[in-house]
């Protein structure tokens, strides 16, 4: 069979064909520039090797390598751009799809042979579908279920307990005299210092007891207030205590909470107040929690019931 297309592709063109001439107006000069690039690249890359051997600074090593590679790449690209046949050349673009006959044959092969399998053995195909389905389901067990524990009720409580002493991350118990008015401290229950969910911001706003919301009459002894440090928006630690404005600002998405109003959000994307931890002072002057938070801390989730 004669390949017409192959015949149409020329073996050669006359040497003076303009398509074969380099793109550069002055090829000799371009060659010199490219040669200079390569020499420079060789020097720089050698210098990189030397500087690595001599343990030069990262900047020197990286600089030599980058400059050397750039010169090398520039030379190669300039070679390709200026000293190769300028063209233009073309190639035909074939129609991708087959002839109507080919398409029909393909369709028939797929559909009619499927009929052999599906149409004649409906019972088998149902069983096969069931087998496939059960494979998918049971494979999901080891692939998904083993990854982690079920949530259970773990999002609904924190390590804070009734009577938990308030301690710092290093475990130092906090007494009622430790903070001055306007002071803040990140605290934890004594049984879980450093806990990510129990992290609480202790703020002293006054010396006399503070009530932030009705029903929280005893929660703020001696001017101490404690709020969950986990933002109710996306869970970032809310650390920015604006002492003058008596507001807490979340550093991630700038939700703003009003401390005196029970840390209700006054600005930004946070939907709920920061839960407040009820505090008390024991006989020796140590701060203790009256109970765990009265609601789940942190960002919202599906199972969270309305409070």
């Amino acid at each position: 069979m004669v390949d017409h297309e192959e015949l149409a592709r020329p073996w050669t063109l006359p040497p003076d064909d303009p398509r074969l001439q380099p793109y550069a107006k002055n090829p000799a000069r371009a060659e010199k520039v490219i040669a200079a690039c390569f020499i420079f690249a060789i020097l720089c890359l050698a210098a990189f090797g030397a500087s690595y051997w001599q343990a030069a600074s990262e900047r020197v090593m990286g600089g030599f390598l980058a400059v050397g590679l750039f010169a090398l790449g520039f030379g190669i690209a300039a070679w390709g751009k200026y000293l190769t046949p300028r063209g233009p050349f073309e190639e035909p673009r074939h129609i991708l799809h087959g002839t109507q006959l080919e398409q029909e044959a393909f369709q028939a092969a797929v559909v009619e042979r499927a009929e052999v399998v599906i149409g004649r053995r409906p019972f088998l195909i149902k069983l096969l579908a069931m087998a496939g389905g059960i494979t998918a389901v049971v494979m999901a067990f080891p692939l998904l279920r083993s990854l982690g524990p079920l949530p259970g009720k773990s999002l609904f409580h924190t390590p804070w307990r009734k009577g938990s002493r308030v301690v710092t991350a290093s475990g130092r118990a906090i007494t009622v005299d430790d903070l001055e008015v306007g002071g803040i401290l990140t605290v934890f229950p004594e049984q879980a210092p450093g806990s990510a969910v129990a992290q609480t911001l202790l703020i002293r706003v006054a010396t006399e007891p503070i009530v932030t919301q009705p029903g929280r009459e005893t929660w703020g002894p001696a001017g101490y207030l404690a709020f969950s440090k986990v933002c109710t928006h996306a869970g970032c630690p809310v650390t920015l205590y604006e002492e003058q404005f008596q507001q807490l600002l979340c550093p991630c998405h700038q939700s703003l909470f009003d401390i005196y109003d029970g840390a209700v959000p006054v600005f930004g994307p946070a939907p709920r107040p920061l839960p407040q931890l009820p505090l008390m002072v024991d006989d020796q002057g140590y701060l203790r929690a009256q109970a765990d938070y009265d609601q789940p801390i942190g960002p919202g989730f599906w199972e969270r019931t309305t409070t």
Partner: protein
């Protein structure tokens, strides 16, 4: 026991040497004027970031008019806003634990005008309430001079007896550290009533500052004293840890500072002297919380001061240009403008042949 439903400006005197209502006065002050201080070169790179979205400034024109309460750095600083450190005993006992590479515009310079000072380690002197940490007093401060300077520079707002007026808080009992911090950082005397006083070149030189501090503390010796900073045993590792827990939340991890709500901002830490850092920790100026000795020990404050005046103010930046220390915002612009943009130019050169 009372419910805190009332306005914040009604906060009572807390008996701890600090006048709550005076702080609230500052909060209530919302007169906004344009500050005269200008932007300096240090800001240019981040400003480039800002230009793209400058329309924000127009839309919020009401607040924009009070813009540019900028914090002068570098050149303006060398006029002496940080000069006290050089003449400070805390610096004489300081050895710099962090290797500072190259010179930096943040290094305080000696103004020369202020003569040598005498200091004494006097915790709880004159029957004053103990600060709970080692303090220094300005021994050769001239109370009389301080009175004169106060009348000339401060009394118009704070009143002739420093007891406060409608527009400015009572200074009595605020403590030497508070007065020294506000005056030595140039925030006081206030040039413009803004939402927040800005750092600017100090009007009173160190000796004058000490005089004023001495006079004001002579009225009421209470309040936090000027902390003694001793960095000879400071731990940078502890400092970094404490900094990320207590400071980075507002001042950012590189100490560059950032915006707070309502137009307030956490200032940059890059031009603070060791003593100013310690004073700020102990007194909690403005919106900053206060870290008393029950919260941070003297050693811990020294650790933080060492970290701030070391790696924060003089970052090593082994990776190259620090890009303003503002993280992915600047990095993104470099990646897109220099990286993608530069490579597009190269691609333009390679690909274009027509």
């Amino acid at each position: 026991m009372k419910r805190f439903s009332f306005s914040r400006s009604k906060r009572s005197f807390d008996g701890d040497g600090r006048d709550g209502s005076s702080r609230a006065h500052r909060a209530r002050r919302t007169r906004r004027q344009k500050s005269s201080s200008s932007l300096v070169l240090y800001r240019l790179l981040p400003m480039a970031v800002v230009v793209a979205v400058v329309a924000v400034g127009f839309l919020s024109a009401g607040t924009a008019t009070k813009a540019s309460a900028s914090t002068p750095k570098g050149s303006t600083h060398s006029k002496g806003s940080g000069s006290s450190a050089a003449a400070d005993p805390s610096s004489s006992v300081t050895h710099e634990p962090f290797p500072i590479k190259g010179s930096s515009g943040y290094l305080p310079s000696e103004p020369g005008s202020a003569g040598p000072e005498e200091f004494g380690l006097q915790p709880g002197e004159n029957g004053a309430p103990k600060s709970g940490y080692p303090t220094i007093t300005f021994k050769n401060a001239n109370v009389k001079e301080g009175y004169a300077l106060f009348q000339a520079n401060c009394a118009s707002c704070h009143g002739p007896d420093a007891a406060g007026t409608e527009i400015a808080p009572n200074l009595q009992g605020l403590g030497a550290a508070t007065i020294d911090f506000w005056v030595s950082t140039g925030r006081m005397p206030l040039a413009n009533a803004d939402i927040q006083a800005a750092i600017k070149p100090r009007r009173l030189d160190p000796a004058q500052t000490h005089d004023v501090v001495a006079w004001v503390t002579s009225l009421d010796p209470g309040g936090p004293g000027v902390p003694l900073v001793d960095l000879s045993h400071a731990s940078l590792a502890q400092g970094q840890s404490l900094f990320t827990l207590n400071c980075a939340g507002c001042h950012t991890i590189t100490g560059a500072g950032d915006a707070l709500s309502g137009g307030a901002f956490a200032p940059t830490l890059h031009i603070a002297t060791p003593r100013q850092v310690a004073e700020a920790i102990r007194t909690g100026p403005g919106n900053m919380p206060r870290f008393g000795p029950g919260n941070l020990s003297t050693q811990q404050v020294d650790d933080i001061v060492a970290y701030v005046t070391g790696p924060i103010q003089h970052p090593d930046n082994p990776g190259g240009f620090g890009l303003g220390g503002i993280g992915p915002v600047a990095e993104g612009f470099v990646a897109l403008l220099i990286g993608v943009g530069g490579l597009m130019l190269i691609g333009y050169w390679i690909g274009d042949r027509t």
